[in-house]
Every structure is written in structure tokens, then in C-alpha cells.
């Protein structure tokens, strides 16, 4: 393989940054959400679960289109930011980060939810009788017991974000160093008839995806949702 150009490295670094930040944000956001979903008998649980899973079935263009409207200069969020003297979020890294968080959310929530649901309530009760507080129980009991679920969530969320295209194309355009991630760069290179560059980046993504899935199956053959119903 010939060596990568600075533009290609830039796209790879940007993709890694986007996927890494998305994964961290989603773990923090989804841990309490998945816990609630796994334990709650509230009537809201199903609507919330459906809402979180929407990106699984919605075309990325729909997500991208709505986000462009909301985050753009005339949108509810973008317009407010502009009024505050800040910059709106369309066609920016922060914009596609928000898009990625929404787009990849089901891939974090689902493995976490299943891992949390599998924890025996009696263990938690026993810990509680030993005066372990809520946070103590969560960090010292729940998290260690759901290791494989968390690892699965991390691997799949990261990989799914790397594979994102439609949302970024709609919301981010193709700005080098800002929104031109690897998938977008490949698209641009094919349009430029630069098949050499397109091949290089595609081969990297193919290798990365295969290794990631290998890792995914190695971590836990049991937790395959949302790819496969149990």
C-alpha cells in the first residue's frame, strides 16, 4: 500500500476523534438511561425505548435533514446560539458530534440495557443490606458485573460512528479537518476520479470493520443485540 497523503491522515484523525468523543459521551449519557430502561416498569419506558431506537430504522437523511434545520442558523438551537453571539452548529465538528451521538445512541443503550437486566437483583439487595450506597452499588457491583456489555457498547458504538455517512453528508458537508471524515473523503475521492485514494481509505475501513467485529464476537458471543434478536 502506498503511503497516505496529509489529507487522508486528516480524515482518519477526524474520524477517530469523532468516534472516540461520541463513544465517551454516549457511555455517560446512556448508562443511567439504560439502567432505568432495564429496571423501570413505568409506562414511559416503552416510548422512551422506541425514541432511542429510532435511528435504527430512520434513513440517515431524515436525521441529517432535521438536525440541519434545528442546528442551523435559523433553527431552534442554532438560532439561539447565534442570538447569544455564538456560532450555529451546522457544518461544524460540534454539529456532526451531536448528530453522531443521536445516530449511534441505540448501539450504546441496547448492550448496556441487556447487561444491566441480567444482573441478579438479589445481589443488589444483599449489598444494600450491607449498607452499600446507591453509587457504591453502581460502581462496585453493577459496572464490574456488566463488563462485557460495556465493552460491547464501546466497540459497537465506535465502529458504528466510523461507518456513519448520510447524517454527516447532510449536516456537515465536506469541510477538510472539520467534517470530512473518512466515509465522506472516500465519496469525494470517487467523485474526483481519484480511485487510488478511494481504494486506500476503503481498504483501511474494511480492515478496521472486520477487526472490530472480530473483537465484538470475541468479547461476548452472548450479547449480539441489536444486530440479532435473542
Amino acid at each position: 500500500m502506498t503511503s497516505l497523503t496529509p489529507g487522508e491522515w486528516q480524515a482518519i484523525w477526524l474520524t477517530a476523534k469523532l468516534a472516540g468523543l461520541t463513544t465517551v459521551i454516549l457511555l455517560i449519557l446512556c448508562a443511567p438511561l439504560a439502567w432505568w430502561l432495564s429496571r423501570s416498569s413505568s409506562r414511559l419506558a416503552n416510548p422512551v425505548a422506541a425514541l432511542v431506537s429510532l435511528p435504527l430504522v430512520l434513513p440517515p437523511t431524515v436525521i441529517g435533514f432535521y438536525l440541519l434545520i434545528v442546528l442551523g442558523p435559523q433553527g431552534a438551537v442554532g438560532g439561539t446560539l447565534e442570538a447569544l453571539g455564538l456560532h450555529h452548529l451546522a457544518f461544524s465538528f460540534w454539529g456532526i458530534l451531536i448528530g453522531s451521538v443521536i445516530y449511534s445512541m441505540p448501539f450504546t443503550v441496547q448492550p448496556l440495557r441487556e447487561a444491566f437486566a441480567a444482573i441478579d437483583t438479589r445481589l443488589l439487595d444483599a449489598a444494600a443490606t450491607l449498607r452499600a450506597g446507591r453509587l457504591d452499588r453502581f460502581f462496585n457491583l453493577v459496572l464490574p458485573l456488566s463488563r462485557s456489555g460495556i465493552l460491547t457498547a464501546v466497540v459497537i458504538t465506535f465502529a458504528h460512528t466510523v461507518g456513519e455517512f448520510g447524517v454527516i453528508a447532510m449536516l456537515g458537508g465536506s469541510l477538510p479537518g472539520e467534517t470530512r471524515v473518512v466515509s465522506i473523503a472516500i465519496y469525494d475521492y470517487t467523485q474526483a476520479l481519484d480511485y487510488g485514494a478511494a481504494h486506500r481509505l476503503s481498504a483501511i475501513l474494511l480492515g478496521f470493520s472486520f477487526v472490530t467485529l472480530l473483537l465484538f464476537y470475541a468479547i461476548n458471543q452472548r450479547v449480539m443485540s441489536p444486530l440479532k434478536p435473542r
Binding site: G72, P73, F91, G173, P176, Q191, A192
Partner: protein, 258 residues
């Protein structure tokens, strides 16, 4: 005294550096896809002539850039393939007058597999042309002009079932290059590129078959303080830039088309 002089010199140098740094900008250019090869050649010439200014080229269909700019995309200058788009952006306050015409484009019939040099639009209903690629007429100016030329020659109803649409004119060339379509209508500025010229060949479509491809640029509201954008706009009328553009088959403002 000597030491004092050194300090003065150092301060002067630092000041000069700072001043230059303040005026050195990178212009993010939204450029119509037909400009791909011409601008790839212009970029190093500009960056040499107007150092330390730099360009960051993003290519796509003019209609797509128009939509992105309406939604706040951070481009400093917009080189459209259709004068109507930057005019609309000026009207909506997203770009700054004046809208300057920089070139007139031409469309050609081009194929990567058959010799297209003697072909006319009239022959497009031949059975060997199973797919005909043009750019999307609704948002790509070269697609709109291709549609007009097909209508003018009375071929539009006959070829409609065979048309495939590229997202922009460069994508259209890709469809033909990869032989997803046996033939198609692309920009002359792409067909003269050495990599493409060696295949098949092209035939010019008479300019009076369609509305003129008047291509114009405007500095955007976002880029109004970007010195590199202004410098690149000026550079476009330099002899050097005009030579490059002529080399890619563009007819320049003030010149008589052949």
C-alpha cells in the same frame, strides 16, 4: 547601543511577522465540480503568487453549495457554475455584491468506450447507448444545460428512459468513466483533462442549444473579512489564471467564443 539596536531590529522583525500573519488567511472555497481540474492547477499558482495566502478547495454541485450556504456553511467564497445562485445568495444577505462572471462553460458529449468525437445528440437513441449520464438538472447547472440541449435537439422524450443522473458534473464523468453509462454529457473543462481525454473522446455541443453557462463567483458574508478570498477573487482576472482557465476550454469574459 548595539544591544539596543538589536532589540529594535528584533522588535521590528517580530512586528513585521505579526502583521504578515494577521494578513495571511486560508480561504475555504466552494467550487462548482466543473472547476475540479482547473482549480487544482490554479491553487499552487495562487499560493505561490499571493503567499502566504492559502486555499482550501471543496468541490460539489452549485445547487448543493447554494443550499449549504443558505444554511450557514462556512465558505469564504463561492464559485458557482450558474450566475443565478450567487445572485440569490446576495439577495438573501448570505453573500456580498458584486457577483462577478469569471467564465463561460461548454458542454460536450463524452464516452470512455466509443469514439464520441463525431457524434451528435441526434445519435443518442442508438441501441448501443443503453444509459446516458447527465448531471441532476434540478441542482447542477451543467445538468440543466444538458437537459436544455437535449430538448432543443428534440431528443429529450426519446432518451428519458435511458438517463442516469450524476449528483454533480464530476460525478457524472465518474459514471461514464466507470462505464455505468456508455455515454453522457459533461463539462468541456473535465473532458479536456488528460486522464479523460485519452479515453473515447468528446464532441462539443453547439453553445446555442442551451442557455449560456455563465459562471460567477461572490465572496460570502461569512468570508467578507477573509483576505485570501479577496486575493483569490483578484487573482482570477490575472493573466496567469486566465491562461489556465482558457486551457480548460472556458471562454473568459471579454473574449469572443469560437
Amino acid at each position: 547601543m548595539n544591544i539596543g539596536n538589536h532589540w529594535l531590529t528584533a522588535a521590528a522583525v517580530a512586528l513585521a511577522t505579526l502583521t504578515t500573519a494577521a494578513h495571511a488567511d486560508t480561504a475555504r472555497v466552494a467550487a462548482a465540480a466543473d472547476l475540479r481540474y482547473a482549480f487544482a492547477e490554479l491553487q499552487p499558482l495562487f499560493e505561490k503568487a499571493r503567499a502566504p495566502h492559502k486555499l482550501e478547495l471543496v468541490l460539489g454541485s452549485s445547487g448543493k453549495f447554494m443550499q449549504q450556504l443558505e444554511n450557514g456553511a462556512p465558505f469564504d467564497i463561492f464559485f458557482s457554475a450558474d450566475v443565478a445562485f450567487p445572485k440569490k445568495l446576495v439577495a438573501s444577505g448570505k453573500a456580498i455584491a458584486p457577483v462577478t462572471t469569471y467564465a463561460f462553460g461548454r458542454i460536450v458529449l463524452w464516452s470512455a468506450t466509443v469514439d464520441a468525437t463525431r457524434l451528435t445528440l441526434k445519435e443518442l437513441d442508438k441501441p448501443e447507448f443503453r444509459h446516458i449520464a447527465i448531471a441532476a438538472p434540478d441542482h447542477a447547472p451543467y445538468g440543466a444545460r444538458a437537459k436544455e440541449a437535449l430538448e432543443h435537439s428534440g431528443m429529450w422524450p426519446k432518451v428519458q428512459g435511458k438517463l442516469v443522473f450524476g449528483e454533480n458534473i464530476s460525478h457524472t464523468a465518474q459514471l461514464i468513466d466507470k462505464q455505468a453509462a456508455e455515454i453522457g454529457i459533461v463539462a468541456l473543462s473535465l473532458a479536456v483533462n488528460t486522464a479523460l481525454k485519452s479515453k473515447g473522446g468528446y464532441a462539443l455541443i453547439p453553445a446555442d442549444f442551451h442557455q449560456p453557462l455563465e459562471q460567477a463567483y461572490a465572496v460570502t458574508a461569512y468570508g467578507q473579512n477573509n483576505a485570501a478570498a479577496r486575493a483569490f477573487a483578484q487573482f482570477m482576472s490575472s493573466k496567469e489564471a486566465r491562461q489556465v482557465m482558457t486551457g480548460y476550454g472556458f471562454v473568459l469574459p471579454g473574449e469572443v467564443p469560437q
